[in-house]
Amino acid sequence: MSRILFVLLLLIPWSISAFSFPPLAVENPIQVTLTPTTPKPGDTVILQASSHIVDLDRSVLAWRINGAVVKGGVGETQVHAVMGVLGEPLTIQLVTESFEKNVYENMFQVYPANVVIAWDANTYAPVFFKGRSLPSPGATVTAYAVTQFATETTIIEPQALMYEWSLDGKTLPGGSGIGKSSATFTMPEFPGTYQLRVVVQTTDGKIESHAAAQLTSQSPLLSLYRDTPLLGVVRTSSLLWDPRINDAEATIAVVPYYASITTVKDKKLSYAWKFDEKPFQHDPNDPNRITLLLGDGRARPRAAVAIQHRDHILQTADHAWTINVNQEAAAANNPFLRQFDL
């Protein structure tokens, strides 16, 4: 009886072990890493072999890329390779013979893929502005991932890919999942540079790529322009560049670039004008424009304007400009002062 119990006691740990753990396998102690980890078509990649168990400096390593031996010898732990075109995988084979005459084989495929982030900040710029609307604190931004994914036989459509969007390491709410090639989010309320990142992969995880974009939010920027009856706002020449005015009366318009508004008359944006250091009452229905009478002998009047966004406290800006009035020309162009030969 005691013998039977002993045998059972010996068997129990084995049975528990056999139930709890998979059968032991001899794992390959050599790892091959890829830099960059998610290469694009045409990228040069560095393949690096490493091991904590096998002394690779005393081992013989043979590298094959796409079936061809590219490098071999004792301690040859690194090799360079160039990724092919889209859909063409890089097949890597590494055969290692250790100093102890053990042979290991590593073999895997890497598909080149590419992601580029394009984005729009939903901030103000006049329609004629050919530059980019930049994000300001609290502004809404829409980002779009342009993807290039393919296998040997198929181009993988953007709708079939999995996306994971994050801003400064925090996953964007509702912005991740299959087919989520775009994300709309709000910039933090504090100015600064934030990293927008998207990781894209096939649903089987076989092909992966990622992209990042630096988004710098900044305060709105003010620029001042002449507003004339014939041209409207003189878009190509700011008074910041040429402050000369040759008229007795001039309408000037301030443009609040990059503020979170859709129109300069948006009630969310308040304007405070000053003319020669004194508050200047503007038309509340036309807050970004003032009309000045300049032909009164003041050669260098000073206009200043400050803006403040109602909802985004850090969307604020102010600027002052010295206007250079050509009094002689202004007087000549003043119909109430001009002498006519009748």
Partner: protein
Amino acid sequence: MRREIIVWIAVGAITTTLMLLAGWYFFIRNQENQLTRVFEGRGFEATLPEGSGVGSTGFNLASVFSSPTIADADPSATNTNTPSRLWRVSVIPSVGLQFFGSELYYAEQPTGHVFKANPETGAVERLSATLLPRVTDVVWVATSSLIVQQTPSLEETSYFAGRIETATTTNGGSLVGEYLPKDVFVVAPAGESAFMYGVRAGSSAAFIERTISGGEKRVWTNPLSHWIIRPTGAGYVFVEPPSSVALGSAFMFSQNTLVPLVQNAYGLMVSRFGDLFSETRSGTPVLFTFKDGARTDLPFVTFAEKCVRDPGKTTRVYCAVPTEFPKQRDSVDAWYRGEVHTSDRWFALDTETNVSELVLSPEGEYGVPLDVSDVTISRDGLYLAFIDTITSTPWVLRVRE
């Protein structure tokens, strides 16, 4: 006695009546003279403008915009004289420069009137007298078909797709057509008789190809609605709007998908014909192109929008190169906001040999600083046309004698 009294009364009455009638006559005549003066003052009696290529409106506008700092500001001089090598075609701010043959077509900003100018003879002819105020861009589809962008205020814009009807008088014909949908935000030419436009539709943008005859085909939708589109022989180049302080990318639009062309570059700009690029490094531009798929940097420190490739000799590139570049990190943004301008010199570059030569220094030879943009070139490569952004006026430069 009684009879005499009656006679005197009758004579008196007749005399008084005659005097009253005379007074009335002079009163009425005076009133008529005053009315005539008022009518003349209001222009009711003015004769119709005729007999001039640019029309009286052009001369009136020219008097508003003419600048005493530039020698050839007199519009009548530009209309009749053989132009000099560097020719200011009009003193009126203009847009939409496009060569058809060796003639330059353009539209005036204040009126939308369309003109053609002959750089050989200096003749300027008004093609359309239809008033479209505050024009900010024109995209040409063919010699008589164009899309006119009007911008009446900072945030309102509309696009009129029109056709110039043949003129029956010397004052120019009419521009007939229709406005594109309200939320169009970009228009680009597409071949000989079509164009592409982007229109906001809800939270995304639709890109539609349209022929002159009006047939439409939706080719793409995208959540972004700020793109610069340049047509090329192989399709379109889509570029994010440039900024020197934000990275941007350019894509080839092919088979309804975007294929990256230039990735993550500051101040990324593309030339009008989509074949020359520039990016900025600390605000200073680097010009480059692609040769056999590989990037090739060109030796000019300038924006791509100031350059054009000679269609007759594709290894020849003309660039307006600033004599001094604004030393600021946001150079592209500031240039687009009109806060900085440059004074440019024209250079030619052979991209095979990398040899460049000075073509003209407008400030050095003519005393006129020109900040070049919207460059185009005649098919024979003889004339360059461009807008000077300081005055927004159109200029032509003969590059070879």
